[in-house]
């Protein structure tokens, strides 16, 4: 038995033990988890299903647009996979404690790397696969495709994901081996800047900016031309799309050809990654593990120190906690780079609404887009809150002795995190929604209402994540991604999504009825008031209940 098999068997045993450990949880908890997973998957299926159905109803042009969207979808998926792989590869291949142990064993470096590559592949791809299956299933149902499509989407995804993981690992190996941390920070910021500017340039390219008589013409003239770059013939997203579309057209030879293109590239990039690993992986690991980067941080001299020290309306304990949290966040590029990318992309999209010609569309669609922008901002906020705010208490875990000893009420800690995260997300979300509303040229009333809703949503989403983070902490994990993927993180995500869906739906409903002329202005005013009261109550309970349970759990916390 070779070394790879031995380590993979060890992995299988760990997974088996984890499954046994799950059995020890209560049946109710397991059922709740499965129900939540089922609800997320059903939502992931239903929303694209309705969208595909709508486009399909437009006949041949609709099918054409759906197929173009498929290219765009896989391009986005490929970029996200590489990005996700870079982050996960760094933690599994370089920062994992197990790596150090494996290097003490008589195993070839490339073997260790191969095992780590396998870990990265599994960790980075399973979530994408979970979302890919319902979305493509919706596509298959709408287009009434045969069973072989469902089989093919898995078979095509595997080499597609392998290419992404190999490229991601090569990028990380080269960065870790050849870039100093200071240079890495600079390069990281530069890369984010280049990424955002490139996205802006791509969206600006080929600006059509034409008036459109109906939705189809709008999509064809203003939307689709912007995304022709997603059909670049030398990209894996093009190969996977071509393969699947050829399968739909019953051109099996071409389908197999594109699959073989994917497989051969997957093998090539894996070989390339293993070859590079044989030469630089160990050096990169030693550099990242033992090279001490003694950057000097003068306490009390930084911008944050000066700002927080002036906030004398806060207690010294609050100031100390806020300063600690802000510095910890700012000094971890992995944290803020994800924030910057996601909100940066939303910012680009909102500032380019006019380039896309959205302000020229019919009022009905303008309304829909305005609410979709509100929903997308809050969905991004929700996913980032779950990713970054929820694990904050769990990450305090082993350090909680410092706070647990302090002569202060534990609730202070909860409120510090609530206000700090709530105000930060409010500043970002409010700016984005204001840009969106101005660019769309929506009515002042809608602008004010949507911004009030953003205020409520920011604090509600923060409370859900802070409260549940304190109520259901995981002190055994130091990896935020692992903490989020547990029961509490999934619950926080589901509750956040549910809250957004209900709140945005409640707000959009009266506007939809008014624009489609189903109700009078008088009834609209009454309905809008009811919606406002409903969202207010919903937000109150979304803030109060998680914070209450969080406070109770924190008071009872033992370490």
């Amino acid at each position: 038995m070779n070394d790879i098999s031995k380590i993979l068997i060890l992995r299988a045993k760990i997974i088996r033990n984890k499954i046994y450990a799950v059995k020890r949880h209560s049946v109710l908890k397991i059922c709740v988890v499965w129900l939540m997973v089922g609800a997320i998957l059903a939502g992931t299926y239903y929303v694209p299903y309705r969208a595909f159905l709508f486009l399909q109803s437009m006949g041949y042009l609709g099918t054409f647009i759906i197929d173009r969207l498929l290219y765009l979808f896989f391009m986005g998926l490929f970029i996200m996979l590489i990005f996700s792989n870079c982050i996960i590869c760094f933690s599994t291949t370089f920062k994992s404690q197990e790596t150090g142990y494996l290097f003490t064993l008589p195993i070839e470096y490339r073997t260790i790397f191969f095992v780590k590559l396998f870990d990265t592949l599994i960790l980075s791809s399973w979530m994408f696969l979970c979302f890919l299956i319902p979305i493509l299933s919706a596509y298959a149902v709408v287009r009434s495709l045969a069973w072989n499509f469902y089989f093919a989407m898995i078979i095509f995804f595997i080499p597609f994901a392998v290419i992404a993981v190999s490229i991601g690992s090569i990028i990380i190996m080269l960065i870790t081996r050849y870039l100093s941390v200071r240079l890495y920070r600079f390069m990281g910021m530069a890369a984010i800047g280049v990424f955002i500017v490139s996205a802006a340039v791509i969206i600006f390219m080929g600006r059509a900016h034409q008036e459109a008589e109906n939705e189809i013409l709008f999509l064809l003239t203003n939307f689709i031309p912007h995304f022709s770059f997603s059909q670049f013939a030398f990209s894996p997203n093009y190969w996977i799309c071509e393969g699947l579309l050829r399968l739909i057209g019953a051109d099996y030879k071409a389908c197999i050809f594109w699959w073989l293109i994917l497989v051969s590239n997957a093998l090539f990039f894996t070989q390339l990654a293993v070859f590079i690993a044989a030469n630089i992986y160990y050096d990169g690991w030693t550099k990242s593990s033992f090279a001490c980067v003694f950057k000097i941080y003068l306490a009390g001299k930084g911008f944050l120190d000066k700002v927080i020290s002036r906030a004398t309306f806060l207690t010294p304990q609050m100031r100390a906690l806020i300063l600690k949290d802000l510095k910890t966040f700012w000094r971890d590029p992995l944290q803020w780079s994800q924030f910057t990318i996601f909100f940066g992309l939303l910012g680009i999209y909102f500032t380019n609404i006019r380039t896309l010609g959205y302000e020229n569309i019919l009022p009905f669609w303008k309304n829909i887009i305005s609410f979709l922008n509100l929903a997308s901002t809050n969905l991004t906020l929700a996913s980032l809150s779950v990713r970054f705010v929820y694990p904050q208490f769990s990450l305090e875990g082993r350090r909680f002795w410092i706070l647990g000893l302090a002569p202060m009420r534990r609730g202070q800690l909860l409120f510090e995190k609530f206000w700090l995260n709530g105000i930060t997300s409010l500043i970002i979300s409010l700016s984005l929604i204001t840009i969106s509303n101005i660019m769309l040229g929506v009515h002042l009333r809608l602008m004010i209402i949507s911004e009030l809703v953003v205020v409520l949503m920011c604090f509600s989403l923060t409370a859900i994540c802070v409260g549940l983070g304190a109520a259901l902490p995981n002190f055994k994990e130091d990896n935020p991604a692992q903490i989020v993927s547990g029961f509490g993180g999934t619950l926080a995500l589901v509750l956040s999504l549910l809250y957004i869906a209900v709140a945005v739906g409640a707000l959009a409903f009266p506007f939809h009825l008014l624009v489609t002329e189903q109700i009078s202005q008088y009834l609209f005013e009454r309905l809008l008031l009811c919606a406002g009261v409903f969202i207010g109550l919903l937000s109150f309970f979304s803030i109060f209940l998680p914070m209450y349970f969080g406070l109770r759990a924190l008071d009872a916390l033992e370490l």
């Binding site: 000097i296 941080y297 306490a299 300063l323 302090a406 033992e558």
Partner: protein, 207 residues
Amino acid sequence: MIKIEHLTKTFNDLVAVDDLSLEIPQGEFFTFLGPNAAGKTTTIKSLVGLLRPTSGRIFVGGYDVQKDYIQAKALISYIPDFPFLYDKLTAREFLDFVDGLYPGRNNSGQEALKFELLRAFGLKAHQDKLIENYSHGMRQKLVFAAAFLHEPRVMIIDEPMVGLDPHSVHLVKDMLKKKGQGRSDDFSFYAHLEYRRRIIRPYRYYR
């Protein structure tokens, strides 16, 4: 200074501490000795308020650790066996952070004390570097420095000398001795056997 009344702590079916009562006067060095899993750390964690007793009460300086925990904790410093710290802060920033958690002290006096503690523990040269770059011993020294920062009346140390180099071991012992001699209401409270002959008089053995 410390009074434990019928302390019992259970974890599900496991009885970690069973009806422990003791009283420790001011100015006393006191140690818990015993085999692994005897309940020493559980007692210590209950004493500093990190664990809630299943039954019984604990008083520090006359304050109930569960009811009057703010007053009680203001008197205590605790040094755990493994120092998990905030890796993205520097030593100076960590001391500033701990200082902020124990308010009500003279600012200029505290700055001088931080300077002195960092110098005494040999961390002056590293004070502005991130803790993530520190060795285990350096982290332990930083925790000791932070523990002396708010001039506690009760110092509780779990496995006190783990990770410290010989020089720092001497330094810590000297500081504890000075504290004990200088003010009669200071004392140290251990869960370790190794150094008892030098600095510890009374001790309690657990079975």
